[in-house]
């Protein structure tokens, strides 16, 4: 997973995405502007973060899960 380092920690770009979602639920497009990454990279990260259970998506808007909150507390 490109979002996760070999030691299990999140990559800087994945952390930036999670932190931005923690501020407020966001769309992929808004996140790309907020974190300064290309839209395709953000979409890829969002997919992996969702598969890892750290985010959920509803109507195109991404929200942090309790597991995502926990991960941010440990690594953020």
């Amino acid at each position: 997973m490109a979002c996760v380092n070999p030691d299990g920690t999140l990559t800087p770009s994945a952390l930036a995405v999670l932190k931005a979602v923690k501020q407020a639920p966001q769309t992929a497009e808004a996140l790309a502007a907020l974190v300064g990454l290309p839209l395709f990279r953000v979409r890829s990260s969002l997919r992996e973060l969702r598969e890892a259970g750290l985010l959920i998506e509803s109507g195109g808007v991404y929200h942090l899960t309790p597991q995502g909150e926990e991960t941010l507390k440990k690594q953020g």
């Binding site: 997973m1 290309p38 990279r41 979409r43 890829s44």
Partner: protein, 216 residues
Amino acid sequence: MSEQTQVSTFPRLNEPAPEFEAVTTHGVLRLSDFRDRWLILFSHPADFTPVCTTEFIAFAEIYPELQKRGVDLLGLSIDSVYSHIAWVRNIEEKTGVKIPFPVIADLNKEVATLYGMIQPGASKTEAVRAVFIIDPKGILRAMIYYPLTTGRNMDEILRLIDALQTSDQYGVATPANWRPGDKVIVPAPKTVDAVDVTPKPGYEVIDWYLVKKELK
């Protein structure tokens, strides 16, 4: 004795570009991740080869111009992601040029086969130099295939993007050797009643089926 070969399919213009998911130097990407922006998907025969290196540098050089036009770049070859990483690092080390776009590591030739990039007459193991221009809705709008020996012309790729975007914006076509700022072609009339050769300011009427106009 029979020899099993992967049969290449060829995508078709103005149809949805075939979807894929692939390992790249920027993680696992899907074609649909590029939706809402233009995309140039291009293949090169192999990492650490001379013509391909000049092309990668040339693609990196036009990258800022492509970004201004809302275009992303995605490379591909039948090499591993480790080879890609080593090669782009080598290019930066030797030439100072940073490769800003992702590159697909298509070791199983899945994407190359889907897009007709493997052409056994040219090479059974390498992709030819293909370029696919995909619009923000995921529709394949143009494709170019070059042989292994011949590096691509970046001016033509930029010109093609400009022409497609101009056609979409203004509902016009573009003549041979068109460049931004040149006159464009008004779509030819499709009925007798639609024929109009009346002189109009800004229009160049060569005949009823060939009318050029300035874009303002």
